[in-house]
Amino acid sequence: MFSQTLHHLVVGLTTGIATLACLCAIAAWVSNYFVGAKNARTHLDTASYIAAIAALPLLPIAVLSGTMAMSDPASDAMSYNKFLFAGLTTGFLASMVIGRWRFGPGVWNDSRLALLQAISAIGALASITVLGSIGAKMTLGESTMDVLPFWPKFDDSVVVNEWLSLVLLLLGIVAMVVAFRLGPKTERISAD
């Protein structure tokens, strides 16, 4: 019972903070198209950066508390999808933080990098929305997203063999190491 309560608490925190991070990042990108929005962009960038950093450690706690709250986690497509979308959310949010960390607050001054940051934010926001919607489906039987005609059904999932999942995990780690170690060197971009 405690894990369920804890899960509700952590999920609320994670969803709220991550949504704030994503919305601020998207707004910071949009502010590029408004003259005189530099001050606002600075604030949005800071809020987005801090919120994303705060959301990252909360995500695994939310997953763990959710796993503890379920009697048989990942035994059905809906809960399996939660794991997959939690992974995607983590990936997008972490990429957002890494991009901001590598290029500094000036990341929004470069149109291509700003767009990439915004895409990361949109990806994270979409994944969080799907996560929340699956949670609502599991607990309430319905979700506000049901009104959308194109909303996917969550009673189906992409399940691969357990060993293949481990191979994919290994491949992901290798790909990440290669991207960091062998990728082009980056420099901070001037915020002026």
């Binding site: 990942a74 992974g87 995607l88 990429s95 357990e162 999942s165 994919l168 420099e187």
Partner: protein, 375 residues
Amino acid sequence: MRGRILTLVTITLILISTQGTVANPGGEGDGNRDFVCGGSCHGDPTLSAPSTATISITSGNTAFTGTAYQFDTTIEIDMISHSRILGVFLLSSINGNGDNPEDHGWNIIQDPSGTTVNYVEVIVPTNGVVSLSWVLTAPEEVGDGDLIVAIHHGAGYEGLAYLGVSEPHSISIDPVPANLPGFALDWSAPNYRVTGDTSPVIVLTQNATEISVEWKLEGESVSHPATVEAGADDEWLVHLPATMGDGRIVYRVTTSNGEFDVIQPWLTMGTIPPEFDGSLMGARAQGFAGAFMIIALLVSLQGLLQPPRRKDDLDQTQEVEVAEETPAESVVDEPTVDEDAAYRARLLKYDEHPGLLWDPVDEEWVDDSNYGGDE
């Protein structure tokens, strides 16, 4: 005063609505009911009229005690209400009470809706023909029994209830012959199959030397023969086509032994999705793999999309000037003659860039020391 007006208006509205509503034009739902609801308004001649529908019964007139018996009826109706709802009763009498066949020793195994009641409501199709089947267990006592079909419906927008009753269908209930072919007592029909499953359905029989099976999808009118293979003793492998999604297949077995041919009731088999084969470790690994791959992709894109270094960024004049102002403590070794010659040899001269030489190795323009001298 306002409260009184409100009460008056409410009562008036209730009275008006009851005047405009006769019986239950929206139907009452399936259930166990006696004929004409036990003397309700349908019995009032000012509110009811005889139906012109034709009710025919095509079932056999023999049943064996305690065994399954299928009752088939076809109703042809030429006028129906706007909602097209038709109420159909299966009865053993039309007294108004105790009419349910279950009050006369029968047991309803399955009604046309898949439940176990004697009254069902159906929507009449545009061709006006409705075929319904009940599967019952015959009474345990030998004798004669009657089964009657009664219907009620509306017509157009009139407020009358139309009633129709079939002739009693007499059934002789005989003792079970010693060698009557049928299903094995310990066999139960499978309710579901996994979607796409083509494995044969195993049917166990007793006293049968041969069986034949016909099948159709639920709602279809034409049935198709199924392939049957003999298995072990009294075991038959029936090959039915795979079903997908929410598809339901109905099949009927005829058990024979040369002396008797017994047509068994229609059996229904639904479709269920395959069992979910995900595991917690697989889900975690797949989730982390997704996260790492997204990070790898976006980090690579960040490196590729970062702004190119401009010449201004490479301009280190300031650093050089600072270095010149401070006394140098160490002297960089002069390049040897060979190195210098090799360096000069790789420099390319372009006429359109006088005074500059292109270094293809370092990819930069360097000053031509000979410019303005010899040339």
